[in-house]
Symmetry: C2
Subunit: 551 residues, 2 copies
């Protein structure tokens, strides 16, 4: 079963010049599809590694992934692909010949080609080597709660990220960051060779949230901070919690599993095009929109964790399964950004599964599933709703509720931005972290293990990633509000377990849109008529928790 | 995570000439290892397809496998690999510089390189296209029990196999077949361009059983036929069967599963380096010796099927897990042949699990596992042994016992050899099949569905494959006899469930030997001091079943 696309020799630019736009585009997509198949394989191998793989296979799996990455990189940076993209760039008649999805494929593949070709192989290798050492150091440091053991690796990560950004700026793939940097240099009277990292965060952010501007992020986050810090303080001062004994205690894992499968299927997860399994850290991955692999985890004495994890990942999975079928296997069918992806998981987790209509429908099923839990039988949907919506400031981001979660993200955003742009030093991180934790959530961090060492992101160079969690929740509120306005009686539908109406609206308005637009903000604007706006999110949280806590 | 081996430009032959043998060998193995990683990935994808994959992913998985096959083929036929092999072939000092395993790696990779490069791409594509159409036609034909619907596809398979053999003969990768062909032409007074397919079966056989001679196969098979046909007739004439009610009836699948996992682990399957799951057709595959994936299947009312399947696949898995660690990821560590692989599954399935010592140990565990089966509690190991060793001629190969199984294989061997070499026509197959079934097993085939259409092999061009099943059983008997002579009190060990002593002997004497030798017969000779010999096998079957059936 040979594929011809790879064996064809690169055509000369003269030969390409005589071909039609359509022919060039078809040759391009044949290559993009092969690349997509390899990416799908990599996704499957990674799922298997987390869910199925026996422990001794770790080294051989790493070898396989590394060889595969090498093959992908070869294909991604091949001169054949480069010549096709170059020739297409020359053509004046592109938009006459191609539709907007096809144009987006050219835009996206050109960007990836540039990004993959502009980094020197040595830097990529150094990066991979650093990551594996750095993760080990972080694990050790966290175990001993000793930031100093991780600090040198964090410094190396910052250095390598700065080098990457510098190459990208030179290569012309992050214009927004370059502009910010030039402006800063000018205002500070610095030359091109002087050290100045202003704008670097913008570049890193765009690795995860393409097209989104850092200064808009600052506006959104500062509004959230201004409104949520007092809201959290008010809830804390109330010193009251609803009874949540009926989400705790003994919940048989097998029965939880059945229940999770039932609910995710009812929400719209297509089990003929995906699987739900168990892993230590829940995630959604897989090989293709027809082959989505999601995981959750169950705790015997906490019902909320398993079902919430399942519904969150179901949101991600619906996005994946709902991707554009006409442009399958090409870049335009891929998710627009991490933030938009997160909006789909959070929309189902928070807007739906933390709502009263959802529990009106679901609670009777739950009582049926756990007939032995006598305490459950008399509970009302309102009580279950209150139990699920408990707000309690804590040290750990991944355990946070929807009100305090943004503060965890904003704290990280402020620190990582300052770090990359040179406003603070690595050694400043723990003290700054603890001060902000005190200011935003009123908590005293006594150990770095539950402070600045809790997350793995920085250990693998994921700086610019954290904001997408909270962008996701802002997107989610705004998208859900639009859906509610567009779908008559949505709440009534949800209260009857009629989820497809919402799923289909999201399929059409979000999932099938893929990467057609250049940023999540553009998608939101086209969808809602407004730019992304934190005020709706603040109002949602304030109204909801004022009622729950009787503030 | 870039790999450097693939990005390196091909060196000129002058440059290579100045390098040491060791350096050339190291460059070769770096490439062989990358190829092996891709093969491992393909193995994992195929396991996933049978065991985990959701149904709608069939098309995307086919795309992924096809792209991967293309990448492997590119790598396998690259000029870099070709130049390295060519340069190594020139060197006079190879055996002074390299050890026998390393020399085997050169021999094996040269052979694969030749085989992969000598077929024209068009033929490979035509073959893949034929296979997918042919399988569909076979499924239809079997459903309707109508051979004529499959016949044209079988003819196409024969034609394409003949073309492949002709290319291989020209390319010098099947010398034995070429010699037979030349001799036949000479004796028939034919020129080089006359049609003559003598020796073609030899070439096909060697795709699965390298180095094994077809004329030796004929001798072995004719001896088996001569001895087993009367043995089978004698058993049939006896018209007696031992009670096997205690392997039938209700065996809870969950409990069977636990039992299978327990036994396979006790035999020596390393669950940290592999998995046991369920699939429609049991198989052993996976990604690496550290990542072996085997499957079985359970039937609620037949205990024998599940446990036998598990033990058979455990035998295959022990071979895979036991492969040479020093030469991991290179060709010499791979299994020598399909027949030798099958010998390992059959040794455990028949020599061990169909023996009295095994049931002496296992029956008490079985009684414990199924305490509700009162009928089991009084059964003796002897009775269980008799029940498991029932002989009953039947139409279906995969359901056959060890006495009648060889006749199914010999029948197919005789037909497929005659077909490929032009002694019969496709249209002759059903009548010939039915006549042989009558002659060897005394059965009247009334429907092609349970006759010549029962197996999928011919539909995907697997001609030359069937003999390896029976070669496997002859190897198994001879290897087990040698193990028994080498291991003091082996039967006593097995009767106490002490399986590691046998497993470790096989690890050392078979598994770690890999593809060091050029044929299974060479391995047998080095191991036992004798060539492969059907008389031991005949004696084993005759003695065993004379006792069981009191002949």
């Amino acid at each position: 079963m040979l594929r011809s696309t790879m064996t064809v020799l690169a055509k000369s630019s003269t030969e390409l010049r005589s071909e039609s736009v359509r022919s060039l585009y078809d040759q391009l997509t044949a290559r993009l599809k092969d690349l997509n198949h390899l990416n799908g394989i990599s996704g499957l191998l990674q799922w298997d590694q987390e869910v199925m793989m026996p422990s001794k296979a770790a080294a051989s799996r790493a070898d396989q992934l590394s060889t595969l990455a090498g093959v992908s990189h070869e294909m991604q940076t091949s001169s054949t692909l480069g010549s096709l993209l170059e020739e297409l760039e020359q053509r004046q008649d592109l938009s006459a010949e191609l539709n907007p999805y096809e144009l987006a494929n050219i835009r996206l593949s050109r960007k990836t080609y540039k990004e993959e070709t502009l980094l020197p192989v040595e830097l990529v290798k150094a990066n991979a080597a650093l990551n594996s050492k750095s993760v080990g150091a972080w694990v050790e440091a966290r175990k001993e709660s000793d930031f100093s053991k991780f600090a040198p690796f964090l410094q190396d990560q910052v250095n390598i990220l700065r080098q990457k950004v510098a190459y990208k700026m030179k290569g012309g793939v992050c214009e927004e960051a370059r502009k910010i940097n030039e402006k800063a240099r000018a205002s500070l009277g610095l030359t091109e060779t002087d050290e100045c990292y202003k704008g670097y965060y913008q570049a890193l952010l765009n690795d995860y949230e393409p097209g989104f501007k850092d200064d808009r992020l600052q506006v959104l986050f500062s509004d959230l901070k201004q409104n949520l810090v007092p809201l959290i303080a008010k809830i804390k001062a109330k010193n009251f919690q609803h009874d949540n004994s009926y989400i705790e205690g003994d919940f048989d894992v097998k029965k939880q599993t059945e229940f999770s499968h039932r609910i995710s299927k009812q929400i719209g997860f297509d089990t003929d095009a995906g699987r739900l399994d168990v892993s230590t850290h829940p995630f959604t991955g897989g090989a293709h929109p027809t082959d989505v692999r999601m995981t959750t985890r169950y705790t015997i004495n906490n019902f909320q964790e398993g079902i919430t994890g399942t519904i969150h990942e179901t949101g991600h999975s619906l996005y994946e399964q709902g991707r554009n079928k006409e442009f399958v296997d090409t870049p335009v069918s891929q998710a627009l950004s991490l933030g938009v992806h997160e909006s789909q998981s959070l929309l189902w987790e928070r807007m739906v599964a933390l709502s009263k209509p959802f529990w009106t429908y679901t609670l009777p099923l739950l009582k049926e599933q756990f007939p032995d839990r006598e305490d459950l039988q008399a509970v009302t949907p309102e009580q279950y709703y209150n139990a699920f919506n408990r707000v309690e400031p804590g040290f750990i981001r991944i355990e946070a509720d929807e009100v305090t979660y943004p503060m965890h993200v904003i704290l990280r955003y402020e620190i990582e931005k300052a770090l990359v742009e040179g406003d603070i030093q690595v050694a400043d991180v723990p003290a700054l972290w603890n001060a902000k934790m005190k200011e935003y959530l009123g908590l005293e961090v006594t150990e770095d293990r539950i402070g600045c060492l809790q997350d793995t992101h920085w250990a693998v160079g994921l700086i610019g990633y954290f904001p997408t969690y909270t962008l996701g929740s802002i997107y989610a509120v705004q998208i859900f509000a639009t859906a509610k306005a567009a779908i008559p009686n949505l709440d009534e539908n949800l209260a009857k377990g009629e989820f497809p109406v919402l799923k289909e609206w999201l399929n059409k308005n979000v999932h099938e849109q893929g990467s057609l637009r250049e940023s999540g903000d553009d998608l939101i604007f086209d969808l809602t008529g407004k730019h992304l706006d934190s005020s709706l999110y603040v109002k949602y949280l304030t109204d909801k928790y004022t009622a729950i806590y009787d503030l």
